[in-house]
């Protein structure tokens, strides 16, 4: 007997997507003076969702000025007053959780299970957490009277559109800054829904401005002289360009960039849970996760058994309609990204790694890539070094803990790492030696607003979340 799960789609009727969207500047939606626009597409169906305005130089300038004007009053508002707005936003996110989850899934391609159970609850948690900080900033370890920086230019990626917005906007606002945020061009819709939440929360006009557009808009924003702080999450390549652009301007900068994290499984690991963690580490959000555990380091003594378990588990993953509540793997966010994944997987083939793909049927329309594992990978393979940002896992082996440390650290990145062992002392020993901003032990891809997140080396600098994250949006006082 086979247990077939009937389709269980979440209803899309809860979201109301307009045919076109303007820019959110000074508390209202305005037309872009550039006159240009672009389309946002549902990556699971290739259906055009909306026409989005592209902000040009004048628009970005208008947004920065609006933020500057708003900063005059917002920056000097007592923390407890700012907190009220943040609490209100957090509650509105919860109230509109289903709508936001569906919208995110339609625009991004991620499974509703994830947008509903991970993204949106974390968004609300980030606003609640930072609302709590707003009137306690003198305890942030930055002196008795830390001051906001001013106008923050924030550029975010398409993998967790609303969550990355929350990571940026919540601490900025709690600390008394105003923001101009640019979402990624393929995933603007949830940011525009957030603009509506700001209006609903009666957030003073200009405190949050949202300018949509692609790389050019982002460049105009970070290079604008009226900006005091730049926060970017995205690729290392763009991060480097931003760093060059802001060098010498006095703008503060935090960068959260790529990763090629090692998930290290020792022979004494709780193996079923380790396999589960490895799957979650790389196939969560189709592998569109900067801290994804894209390199699996298996202790050689258990490699064969662990790989067999991994493949068996991957064969149960359900790929398909992201709105179906039983879908585990959704769509790749864009054709461009799909082509990049295909290219790098092809490089893996050419370099002689052995490709294994879960047996699953890909829908005819949309952008899809089946969960893929490469075995026989070594440090010398490009698929062990370059960030693929897709559902592709490279499997390497190691013999001793020292070798695991060397291999895990032997990457230009340093965002995260995972350690799987039942031995507590080994967890501590390994964690001490990992050059990575986040080290998970016997779990992976767990996020919490109280825990700082950020990278080493080419994965960037600065932290988001927790006490450490506040430093990115405050000027320390002398006393």
């Amino acid at each position: 007997m086979t247990f077939e799960y009937a389709p269980a789609p979440e209803s899309a009727s809860i979201v109301d997507i307009a045919s076109s969207y303007g820019l959110f500047i000074g508390g209202e939606f305005v037309d872009a003076t550039s006159g240009r626009s672009f389309k946002s597409v549902n990556p699971a169906t290739e259906e055009v969702l909306a026409d989005i305005s592209e902000a040009g130089a004048d628009d970005v300038d208008r947004a920065v000025r609006s933020a500057r004007t708003a900063f005059e009053s917002w920056g000097s508002l007592p923390g407890r007053e700012r907190a009220k707005y943040l609490f209100r936003i957090a509650r509105l996110v919860q109230e509109r959780a289903r709508e936001l989850a569906v919208l995110e899934t339609i625009d991004n391609g991620k499974p509703i299970r994830e947008s509903r159970d991970v993204d949106v609850p974390l968004v609300a948690a980030h606003f609640f957490y930072h609302a709590g900080w707003a009137d306690k900033l003198e305890y942030a370890g930055l002196g008795r009277d830390p001051r906001p920086l001013g106008v923050a230019a924030q550029v975010i990626p398409w993998n967790f559109p609303l969550l990355m917005l929350a990571w940026k906007v919540a601490p900025a606002l709690a600390c008394g800054n105003t923001v101009v945020l640019k979402p990624a061009e393929t995933t603007s819709l949830s940011a525009l829904a957030f603009a509506d939440i700001c209006r609903q929360a009666e957030l003073p006009a200009g405190v949050v401005n949202i300018v949509t557009g692609a790389g050019d808009t982002g460049r105009l924003l970070v290079e604008h002289p009226g900006v005091d702080k730049v926060a970017f999450t995205g690729s290392t390549e763009v991060g480097k360009a931003i760093q060059r652009a802001v060098a010498g301007t006095g703008k503060r900068l935090t960068l959260e960039l790529g990763g090629k994290a090692a998930n290290i499984v020792f022979d004494d690991a709780p193996i079923d849970e380790a396999i589960e963690g490895v799957v979650n580490g790389i196939f969560f959000n189709q592998g569109h996760v900067c801290c994804a555990g894209s390199r699996l380091l298996l202790q050689e003594s258990i490699a064969d058994e662990a790989l067999a378990s991994l493949k068996r588990r991957l064969s149960t993953l359900r790929l398909g309609d992201p709105l179906d509540k039983n879908t585990d793997i959704g769509a790749i966010n864009s054709l461009e990204q799909l082509e990049r994944i295909r290219h790098l997987a092809g490089v893996g083939d050419d370099e002689g790694a052995e490709r294994w793909t879960a047996d699953c049927q890909l829908p005819a329309k949309g952008y899809w890539f089946a969960p893929t594992v490469f075995t026989g990978v070594t440090q010398a393979h490009r698929i062990a070094r370059e960030e693929i940002f897709g559902p592709v896992l490279s499997v390497l082996t190691f013999r001793t803990p020292d070798e695991a440390v060397e291999k895990a650290n032997n990457t230009p990145y340093g965002l995260s790492a995972g350690i799987w062992t039942e031995k507590g002392s080994r967890i501590l020993w390994m964690a001490d030696r990992m050059r990575a901003g986040v080290v998970w032990a016997n779990t992976f891809n767990r996020f919490d607003p109280t825990s700082p997140f950020g990278g080493f080396k080419e994965s960037g600098f600065g932290r988001e979340g927790g006490l450490h994250g506040l430093a990115a949006y405050l000027e320390a006082s002398d006393d």
Binding site: P7, R113, D117, I271, E273, S309, N326, E422, N442
Partner: protein, 313 residues
């Protein structure tokens, strides 16, 4: 599977049970809870729900294990087992009725060969008696017509590390069962840790269990998704090693169709559909059956009826 200390094939008893059981990979409780919670979000609708409800009904061991059980009470649950919904012939029979040993004859007389009869034996539920008494208890039940024996392990011996004693008792009870199927109750609520659940599962399978069963129903917590998940992993791994399929029975505390369907999802996504049969997965329950019937009626008619539209037993 970190089971290198065991002889390959596992046909024989490992030289040192203790070394073998302690060489099994550890269980991370947080990870197991996360996996079980993740699978609990599966949304089972329409045809798949209909199928799941009928499958669950066919997997029920309809149980009465009270000091107050009488022949009348046993005849009542037997009638219910054979015809769970008197208004609807399309409802499948349950897998078995489960009673104390002294009522097996009454049950057999009532059901004939229509459903299995499971008897709890071996000084159920505590298991605190001599091996001789336990074997006698088992033989009595088999002689009275039980074709399934639900035995309890000696949890005291297990927790004291005397695995050989537990193993030998299971082997002896299995021999006393003759052709009757043996379900070995681990009483996971007393073993407490999931590491223990994994070890006890392997111990029971090595000793010849046909089924491993979570609980007596007399100890809280009884069956939980976490415990059942670990036991399903054990039967899966045992099958990989030996080619033999051992069944799993989740008993106690499962009262609603929604919970039952979640267990079927656990089975489906842990061991696969080969186990989705009453031969390899059972629910030990009493009130669950009526909820399954109510849900079944609701799906057929489109509206909820009420407790007076299913029979009490």
């Amino acid at each position: 599977m970190n089971t290198r200390s065991a002889p390959s094939g596992l046909d024989a008893r490992p030289e040192s049970l203790s070394r073998f059981l302690h060489g099994l990979p550890g269980v991370d409780e947080v990870g197991v809870a996360g996996r079980a919670a993740g699978l609990a979000t599966r949304s089972i609708k329409q045809d798949s729900k209909r199928w799941a409800i009928d499958t669950a009904i066919s997997m029920v061991d309809l149980t009465t294990l009270e000091g107050a059980d009488t022949p009348g009470k046993v005849r009542a649950i037997c009638a219910k087992a054979m015809r769970p919904d008197p208004t609807d012939d399309s409802v499948p029979r349950v897998a078995a009725v489960c009673v104390y040993g002294d009522l097996v004859a009454v049950a057999r007389e009532t059901v004939g060969d229509a459903v299995h009869i499971a008897a709890v034996a071996t000084a159920f539920p505590s298991g605190r008696a001599s091996l001789e008494v336990k074997l006698h208890d088992t033989r009595d039940a088999v002689a009275a017509g039980a074709d399934e024996i639900d035995m309890v392990i000696d949890r005291g011996a297990f927790l004291a590390g005397d695995y050989d004693l537990v193993y030998d008792e299971i082997v002896a009870v299995k021999a006393a069962c003759g052709t009757a199927h043996l379900k070995v109750i681990l009483e996971t609520g007393e073993l407490r840790t999931l590491d223990n659940v994994r070890r006890a599962s392997w111990l029971a399978m090595l000793a010849g269990a046909d089924f491993i069963k979570t609980s007596t129903g007399k100890v809280s917590p009884a069956a939980t998704p976490e415990v059942t998940l670990v036991m399903l992993q054990a039967v899966r791994d045992f099958h990989v090693r030996t080619g033999r399929r051992i069944g799993v029975k989740a008993a106690g505390g499962i009262r609603t169709s929604k919970e039952a369907i979640r267990y079927l999802v656990l089975v489906n996504e842990t061991v696969g559909d080969a186990w989705l049969t009453p031969d390899l997965f059972r629910f030990g329950a009493s009130s669950l059956l009526n909820d399954l019937l109510l849900q079944r009626q609701r799906m057929a008619s489109g509206h909820y009826s009420g407790p007076d539209y299913v029979t009490i037993d």
